[in-house]
Symmetry: C2
């Protein structure tokens, strides 16, 4: 007798047959006595189709209008899923973001949830209904439709789970959990039974695309138990079995946790590196370089400033590869302005990161990582560390090799005792 | 310097190219100094696609959920059209039905507009924006999404024009006006420069599908000048020319009106006739027959009860052809219950109607109509008249012939002096 929020991704609702499967799965959970709120994404491909239409009309579509258009994908799915549930004999009612209502700020295409009014959903649950709530969307204080950005339905589900103090939030997707690394690169990659929020944040932000990072932050902040599991299994699998499948993302390092030092290896290929060489080493120089980059809405990831020699230093940072040309153009102006010697860039790099809360208490992880890479002749171009991760930038041609040798060196294919 | 509401049908916004054409047309009206509110339908085919998805999941889709799904078609179009207008340099902002808000009753899939809150639209107009308002949809008092039924965008446009006291409501569609009859049947059919609301109501309800009938009622009730015109002309046609094109639907028989006796000939093929024979002629018998038909939500059109002979009478009426079998089954029970002699039906009939306000003051129209049909050997099965129309039911195989000979007999191909 628990309250469960279930989120289904675009692939899981990609056809009417799959929507019917979702309905059967939800009906099974209802039959087992649980209260369920369902949050579906748009049917796979639909959001891209809508954005493509928008771009045919406006090269850079107006953000408010883009949200009006893009939010229809989820609206269609909630209506269809409510019908499918009724066809399975389950009482159901759909809600758009504004109907719930999911209040957000007004940052169109990347809005943040501010508040959720759960009154109607509670009333529905009390009356035996399954509320089917559109993910990805909300409404701002003056009644504009907003969307939460790519993967925003994860955040919608977690936010609803937090608002309603749900017992667990199940993220049904087309993978069966979080792996030590991408199994397409390392076939021995192992599914993790549990992972901490901190680790998941590092894994997500570093390129493991299982969950939208903001949903993980939200879950950590509001202590929502989050489970990632597959929607491609037989919908009739027993509830007890399904409830223990996938990967549980926990908000504490409890006794049941696996005791591995390293949980996984993440990687990101779509990065580029820029270096301003011979920069006069004086106060404010970092801002002089990164200020214009930030003004152009380019996200900067790793930043490295070397020790000064003769009052000159080299300043390096990484940006998304799609912003590389724009960043180069900006720095070309900046370089002259600050009197730096040269500007070099490389958009053929990648980032490989080892993540694990065990690093906190285990020394020697970094040196073992660097030794493993050097034994394969892989040159490390940049290094960045946090309490629970070590990231290195290497030539992108070495990415798969680096992930494989690190996975083996740290025995990640073996479940910890 | 007028306020113009412009409605564009599904064909007119059926592709991004056509949406761009609509934007150019609106930009031209703005450049000529007019305030414009635009009401687009869903892209052609979209509503049918959504309804088909719904029917895959629920044989008879839940009406509330169907409205949630179907209303997305117009939501997509308003966003896209607002973008297209911005791309033309026109300030624009989209609104869904609930954003305006268009308040309706809760009769899902066929809701009626109760009220429109025009405050935001007025503010937008004052600030130089073109509001782009989703047709076909509204919101009920408890926040459910509703739709107005097929062709509902016409009604949305007229209701907005009424609420904002617009100078004219232009219905852009894929025909260039209202014709004396369907030109596919009578090539000489002539476009009417004007038609009265009463005539248009009879034409619309009798099968001329240019405008949703409810929109015409609305326009008549609130004295909205309504013009039907083509969206397939060159968007750059001068505003002055465009403003005089199409057919103007007037709410008074003013001096500028054409002085024809008959304005047009309408027809409806999808009808069926039922006759209960040898009905005991006593009070309440009509209700005993038609009550169960109405309870089954079958619309009855023409009703005829013959004079009684020996206390028995024959009772005939017409229903939509799709309801024919259901009506027969109901009458089979009724017949035994009331002790009628027999039940006969015919689903191969059609209705042909002559419409014209001039009938009020001209005698002999009916007899000329009957003579014309008899000269062609067309047998009249039922007759029904109103102040401004005469309808006859004939075998459906004579439909085209009947329309053609009547068109010629009444010289409808010739514009009145």
């Amino acid at each position: 007798m628990a309250l469960i929020v279930q989120k289904y991704g675009g692939t899981s609702v990609g056809s009417t047959d799959r929507i019917r499967n979702v309905a059967r799965r939800v009906a099974k959970w209802r039959a087992a006595g649980h209260d369920v709120i369902v949050v579906p994404s748009a049917m796979s491909g639909e959001t891209n189709r809508l954005i493509a239409l928008a771009k045919e009309l406006q090269a850079s579509p107006d953000a408010r209008e883009l949200d009006v258009v893009a939010s229809t994908g989820e609206q269609v799915t909630v209506g269809l899923l409510a019908m499918a549930l009724m066809a399975e004999g389950v009482k159901a009612r759909s809600y758009t973001g504004w109907q719930v209502r999911v209040l957000t700020d007004s940052a169109f295409t990347k809005a943040r949830i501010v508040d959720i009014d759960e009154a109607r959903l509670r009333a529905d649950l009390a009356a035996g209904f399954v509320p089917v709530v559109a993910g990805f969307q909300g409404i701002d204080t003056i009644g504009n439709i907003t969307t939460l950005g790519r993967g925003g339905s994860d955040t919608s589900a977690v936010a609803l789970a937090a608002a309603l103090k749900a017992d667990e939030c199940l993220i049904f997707t087309d993978v069966d959990g979080v792996y030590t690394t991408d199994p397409r690169i390392v076939p021995e990659a192992r599914r993790l039974a549990t992972i901490t929020f901190e680790e998941m944040l590092e894994m997500a932000s570093l390129g493991s695309k299982v969950l939208q990072i903001r949903s993980v932050e939200f879950a950590g902040k509001y202590k929502v138990r989050l489970r990632v599991l597959s929607s491609l299994t037989d919908p009739e699998i027993p509830v007890d079995t399904e409830a223990r499948s996938g990967t549980l993302i926990t908000f504490e390092e409890d006794d049941n946790m696996e005791q591995a030092v390293i949980s996984g290896i993440a990687f990101a290929r779509d990065e580029a590196k820029l270096t301003v060489m011979g920069v006069p080493d004086r106060p404010g120089i970092a801002y002089a370089i990164l200020g214009p980059i930030g003004d152009a809405n380019i996200d900067v990831d790793m930043i490295i400033q070397n020790a000064s020699t003769d009052g000159l230093t080299d300043f390096s940072f990484t940006v998304p590869r799609g912003d590389y040309q724009k960043a180069l153009e900006i720095l070309d102006v900046v370089q002259k302005h600050i009197g730096a010697r040269a500007l070099v860039g490389d958009n053929r790099i990648c980032k490989v990161s080892m993540v694990g809360v065990g690093m906190r208490t285990h020394a020697g992880i970094a040196s073992k990582m660097f030794r493993t890479l050097s034994e394969e002749g892989i040159n490390i171009q940049m290094i960045s560390t946090s309490e629970i991760k070590i990231s290195v930038v290497v030539d992108e041609k070495y990415m798969e090799l680096a992930v494989r040798v690190l996975h083996r060196a740290f025995d990640l294919e073996v479940a910890p005792a």
